[in-house]
Symmetry: C2
Subunit: 335 residues, 2 copies
């Protein structure tokens, strides 16, 4: 015996109405006599009828599914965003197709195409950088797109972020106020606008505000991993830096670990600020002072924005800037 599916047609027959009426009942169309509705509902229940969302999608051209392109779910930063996205999606009756891209330009494009082929109603994109190619795909697709936690220099699509420049400036300013004259800037790839433009700009502004000179030797580009952090410490200390701002918690943790191994006292001899305030910053000794980003909210707001775009609602702003904070913990001195 095969999987004999029950269709809207079966329900219609059993309830002695037309399939149009069943459709109306299923979709909550008010133009149905209560008695009829009741009858149909009973049959639906009895037959255990479940509407086929694929057929529905084909007929209505809406899938109530959105595509989510993410570099790596197993990275806490993105996982937090994803959770916010899914919660709001669920709230608005959408499901998410989650696709990992590893931040790989080519994968991003191919995955975007399969999502579009699946007729998703919208796309949430997280990535380190927006290549021209992917931007091109976005613009010729007619499907609404929102960036979550990703910077797009020219704002063609929606996006939700914090003000990375201002946040970085704040962090650096704190370090400068504490008397540090050589403050290191340690980030991921500088070609990513979020690092090379936003954050670095904030760094420079803070420096000039405190009359400190910009020195390339204090800028480090690294991968986001614990190990890279520990390995970076030699060079960091050689640079003469007495403080560092790091754009990733795991990396910062590695640096802290390396510093301690070198017998450098944190925060007495070296101050450290990281960026994501994840659990990692809480469990290290000392705990690491960090910028705070509302990760969950960035995801949630991005999804909310996307629902508006999908409904062609009027939206005040396609670019949302959420507030950030700076939580002082054990890796910076109290003053």
């Amino acid at each position: 015996m095969e999987k004999q599916t029950i269709t809207i047609y079966d329900v219609a027959r059993e309830a002695n109405v037309s399939m149009a009426t069943v459709s109306r009942v299923v979709n909550g169309n008010p133009n149905v006599k209560p008695a009829t509705r009741k009858k149909v509902l009973e049959v639906i229940d009895r037959l255990d009828y479940r509407p086929n969302a694929v057929a529905r999608g084909l007929a209505s051209k809406k899938t109530t599914t959105v595509g989510v392109i993410i570099p790596d779910v197993s990275n806490m930063f993105f996982a937090s965003l994803a959770r916010g996205i899914d919660d709001v999606a669920t709230m608005y009756k959408y499901n998410i197709i989650l696709a990992n891209s590893d931040g790989n330009d080519q994968k991003e494009v191919s995955v975007l195409n399969t999502l579009l082929a699946k007729q998703v109603d919208g796309i949430i994109f997280m990535g380190h950088r927006i290549t021209d190619e992917i931007r091109g795909e976005f613009s010729r697709s007619k499907t609404p797109v929102v960036l979550a936690g990703s910077i797009d220099p020219d704002q063609q699509v929606g996006s939700v972020n914090i003000d990375y420049e201002a946040a970085t400036k704040d962090a650096i300013s704190l370090l400068a106020r504490h008397g540090n004259e050589k403050i290191s800037f340690i980030s991921g790839a500088l070609i990513d606008p979020i690092n090379g433009k936003e954050r670095l700009e904030g760094y420079k502004k803070a420096l000039s505000e405190y009359n400190l000179t910009y020195n390339e030797g204090l800028i480090f580009e690294s991968n986001y991993s614990f190990k890279e952090g520990t390995q970076l410490v030699d060079r960091l200390l050689n640079s003469g830096a007495t403080a560092a701002f790091v754009t990733d918690d795991e990396l910062a943790l590695g640096i802290l670990d390396g510093l301690l191994d070198h017998g450098v006292k944190v925060p007495e001899e070296f101050e450290l600020i990281t960026s994501n305030n994840s659990l990692l910053t809480e469990v290290s000794r000392p705990k690491i002072t960090s910028l705070t980003q509302p990760l969950y909210d960035i995801g949630a707001v991005a999804m909310r924005l996307l629902t508006k775009l999908m409904n062609k609602e009027e939206t005040e702003e396609k670019t949302v800037i959420l507030p950030y904070g700076l939580e002082e913990k054990g890796s910076t001195r109290k003053q």
Copy 2:
């Protein structure tokens, strides 16, 4: 101007062939003359035609999409599984619809139903416990299901796990060999079979093997959070325990933190073993000895198993047990 979609029909017309031929080309059917194929491919390229996966799904009754029910993506443990799942899914040309359930019985059922409504070809389920209700839904759905990292007492569906009982027994045995006579067992809800059955059983077996008496006062049920861990420490120390096995890293970290705050020396005065060997166990001081579970692989193998089930391939085994390990680090003594 509206989103005027290009259909297989447009391509057929432009290429002077029937839509069937276009379909064959698109699906790589060998029964097409090379010249024809080339012509069709050119038109597809020129028109920028992209097959509509929804229509395809309706006609073929396959969506190349699988549903993934996960308690919480922002939990590292599950996120790692999810990454393994997605990678293998991608490898086999599937996409995943990711749905968070919070381990909530009711949400799990409702989410399962919407996934089935969307005609997913298969389901990967992660959860703390398999309720009778969800098991019922599984069995009457005809859609293949595989559990990843979840225990199902009666094995109706596929599943991929490690041998939690043996793993726990190993961990406890190590603690016993080190001379600990009062070894605490700290887990999540004991009604979850993975804790109350598998792991606790392993705990008991190890005890009896070392002639230690089972004492309920050493068993603690807790939530998986850092805070709960720190708060548990008073009771833990009052129990007289000199060692503990913990089923979650974050919880273990909280316990370690609490112990250190109480001036208890780890591992000299108290030994600790945790279960997931996540990054958290590496960044604490001391690093925490842990069981090692191949999280990514559990996800990957679960997805691989699901592909077999979806293809109705003969599968040797519906229940896969993956190897585990025990990595001794700083929270247990060297002997």
